[in-house]
Symmetry: C2
C-alpha cells in the first residue's frame, strides 16, 4: 500500500460547510483509500457528520477542534490578525508544521491567500502566490492564472505567473513546451494596459521550455489557443465566472427546450447519453480545486459554492500534488528559472532587446 497522504481540511469554509466538507472527504477517501484527513472545525458539528458518513472512521480521520472560523465577508487583514485559532489558519499551520501534506479550504479566498502566504511562505523568486486552475477547452484542457488572488498585478507579477503556469502545465498536463498567452483585449502589440505590454516584452526575451505566443483574448480561453493563460486576478476571476455563468445558462436553455414538445422529449431520451457526456465534459465541479502556485506548501482553494463532489475533486488535486512530488519539482525549476529571470531583468535594464 502506498504511504499515507495527510490532507488538512478547513471544515468551516464554504457556503455549505461543514456538511459539504465532511461528505467531500467521504467521497475522496472512497476513491483514494490511502488518504488521512485532519479535519479542523467545530467538533460538536463535525462528530455527528463523520459518524453518519460511509467511509470516514477513526483510522482515516482526526478532528481538531476550534470554535473559530473566518467569515466570507471578513477582510483578509482582519482575518490574519484575529483568526489565529480559525479552522482555516489551524489547517494551514498543519502543513507549515509538516503535520499534513496539503490543505484544502472552500473559505474566504483573500484570507486563505494571506494566511497561506504567512504560514507556508513563498518560493524564492516569487513575490505573490497565484490561483491556478484547469478548465475544459475545444482542444482539451488548459490552465489559467491568476483567478482571483491578486487584484492588482504589475508586469513582474505577470511574468512570474507565466513562469509558474508553464511549469504547472508541463508537469500536470505532461507537455514538453506548453504555449503561454497573456489575456488582453486584442492580440496586437500596442493593446491593453502598460503592465501587459511590459510583461509581454519580458516574456519574449526569457528562454524557457515554453512557447510564449503573446496576447490572447477572452474567447481564446475556451478555444484552447494556448495551454496557459496568464492574467491578473481581477480579469481572471471575471473571465472564469463569466464562462461558468454562460455554461449554466446554456444548460438551462437546453433543458427547457428539450421539455418543450413530445418530440423533443423523445429526442432527449434517445440522446441522453450524449448530452450527459457534454455535461460531464464541462462540469465545473470536475475542475474544482484551484492551486495557490508560488507557495512553499500545497494549498488548494475550493469554490465556495461547490458541493461535496466538487470538494472531493479539490481534495484530489491536493493529494495528487503531494503524491507526484509536485512541490519539489516546482521548487527545483523555479530556482533555475529565477536565475534566468534575473538575467532577463538585467537585459531589460539595458534597454536593448
Amino acid at each position: 500500500m502506498a504511504p499515507e497522504t495527510i490532507i488538512a481540511l478547513d471544515a468551516m469554509g464554504g457556503d455549505n460547510a461543514p456538511a459539504m466538507v465532511v461528505r467531500g472527504a467521504d467521497i475522496a477517501v472512497e476513491r483514494m483509500p490511502d488518504l488521512f484527513f485532519k479535519i479542523v472545525g467545530n467538533e460538536q458539528l463535525l462528530k455527528p457528520l463523520i459518524g453518519g458518513s460511509k467511509y470516514l472512521k477513526s483510522s482515516n480521520c482526526l478532528v481538531i477542534h476550534t470554535d473559530q472560523k473566518v467569515e466570507d465577508s471578513e477582510k483578509p487583514s482582519v482575518a490574519l490578525r484575529s483568526g489565529k485559532d480559525s479552522s482555516m489558519r489551524l489547517a494551514i499551520d498543519l502543513v507549515a508544521n509538516q503535520e499534513a501534506h496539503g490543505v484544502v479550504s472552500a473559505g474566504n479566498t483573500g484570507a486563505l491567500m494571506v494566511m497561506s502566504k504567512l504560514g507556508l511562505r513563498m518560493c524564492p523568486g516569487i513575490d505573490r502566490p497565484a490561483i491556478a486552475s484547469f478548465f475544459p477547452t475545444l482542444k482539451g484542457e488548459s490552465c489559467m492564472l491568476d483567478l482571483g488572488a491578486n487584484i492588482e498585478c504589475d508586469s513582474g507579477n505577470l511574468v512570474q505567473f507565466a513562469v509558474m503556469g508553464q511549469i504547472f502545465a508541463r508537469l500536470v498536463l505532461n507537455l514538453k513546451r506548453p504555449t503561454v498567452g497573456l489575456l488582453n483585449v486584442g492580440s496586437e502589440e500596442q493593446k491593453g494596459h502598460e503592465e501587459l505590454r511590459e510583461a509581454s516584452a519580458i516574456l519574449r526575451q526569457i528562454d524557457l521550455p515554453m512557447e510564449f505566443i503573446g496576447f490572447v483574448e477572452g474567447d481564446d480561453i475556451t478555444a484552447g489557443t494556448v495551454d496557459v493563460i496568464v492574467t491578473d486576478g481581477f480579469s481572471g476571476n471575471i473571465a472564469l465566472k463569466a464562462a461558468e455563468g454562460t455554461s449554466r445558462m446554456f444548460t438551462f436553455f437546453l433543458k427547457e427546450a428539450f421539455g418543450s414538445s413530445i418530440y423533443s422529449k423523445i429526442g432527449y431520451a434517445l440522446s441522453k447519453t450524449a448530452i450527459n457526456q457534454v455535461r460531464e465534459r464541462m462540469d465545473p465541479r470536475k475542475y474544482n480545486g484551484a492551486v495557490f502556485l508560488g507557495l512553499n506548501g500545497i494549498a488548494v482553494k475550493s469554490h465556495g459554492s461547490t458541493d461535496s463532489f466538487g470538494f472531493a475533486n479539490a481534495i484530489g488535486v491536493a493529494a495528487d500534488m503531494s503524491k507526484y512530488g509536485f512541490l519539489d519539482k516546482v521548487k527545483d525549476e523555479l530556482r533555475i528559472l529565477h536565475a534566468e529571470g534575473e538575467a532577463s531583468e538585467k537585459l531589460r535594464g539595458t534597454g536593448d532587446a
Copy 2:
C-alpha cells in the same frame, strides 16, 4: 410611409468587408424598406457588390468613394491623424454634418471611438463614450458597458457609464427602474479596485430612476441579476468574449455528442426544433451592434468578425435609435442627471454620506 432613415456605412471595416457590409445592408433594407444608405468605401469594389444585391438600388443607396481605410492594427492616434479620408472617418462625418442619422462600422474599435468622439463630440457631463450592448440572460436580456472603448476607467467614468446604461435600458428594454450593478470579483463592499469602491459609494447616493444593487460577479452577467452591468472596457471586453467562447465550445461539444451514436442522431433529428430554439436564443449575431453611449450622435460598432446577418442587426440598432428619437431622450435625461451628478459630487466632497 415613414420618413427616410439615412445610415452611413463604413464599407471597409470588418474581417469580411466590403462584401459583408453590402450584403448586410441588403438584408437590412429588405427588413426596413425606409432605410437609405450612404456607403463609404472603394467604389470599384462596391459597385459590383451592390449591382449583385437583391434590394439595394440607386433609390436607396449612394456610394461615396474613398481609397483609404483604417487598418485593424492601426493605433487610434495614428488613424485619427492620417485617416481623415478613410471610409470610417467620412462615414462619421456624414452624421456630424447631419447628412446621415447614424453610422455603422465593423472596423477598428479604438479608431472608431476616437474618431466618433472628435467628429460627433460628447454629451455634456460625459467624459468618455462607452460601448454598450445587450446580451441574453436566464431572465431575458441585460445590457453591459463598457465593452472595450476605455481600457482604464476611474470612478467618475464608471458612474457616468451607470447613468447612461440605466437610461439605455429604460428606453430600449422599456423598464421603469432598471437594476444596475458594478462588475467586481465579489459582492462584498471591500472587494475590488479602489475606483470600484468609490463608484459604488457615489452611486448609492445618486437619486435616479434606477436601483443600484452594488457589486455583481462574472456569473451574474448571464444570470440576469441586474438589467445593467457597469464595468471598465478591459473587464467588459474579456467577460463578453469569455462568454462568447464558452457558448461556441458548448455548441461544438453538443454537435459532437449528437453525432456520436445512431440513438443520439435520431434524438437530434427529433429535437432539432428545440435545439435550434436554443441556438437562436443565444445567437451572438442577434446581439451584434454595440452602441457608443455618450456621444452627440448615433454610432454603432459591429463585431469585426460578424457576417452579413449580424451586420444587418447592427444597422437595425442604429436605425431604431434614430427612429425612436433615442438620442434626444438621452440628452434630455443626461442634462437633468448631470445636475444631480454635480450635487452628489458635492455630497461626496463633504465626506458625509
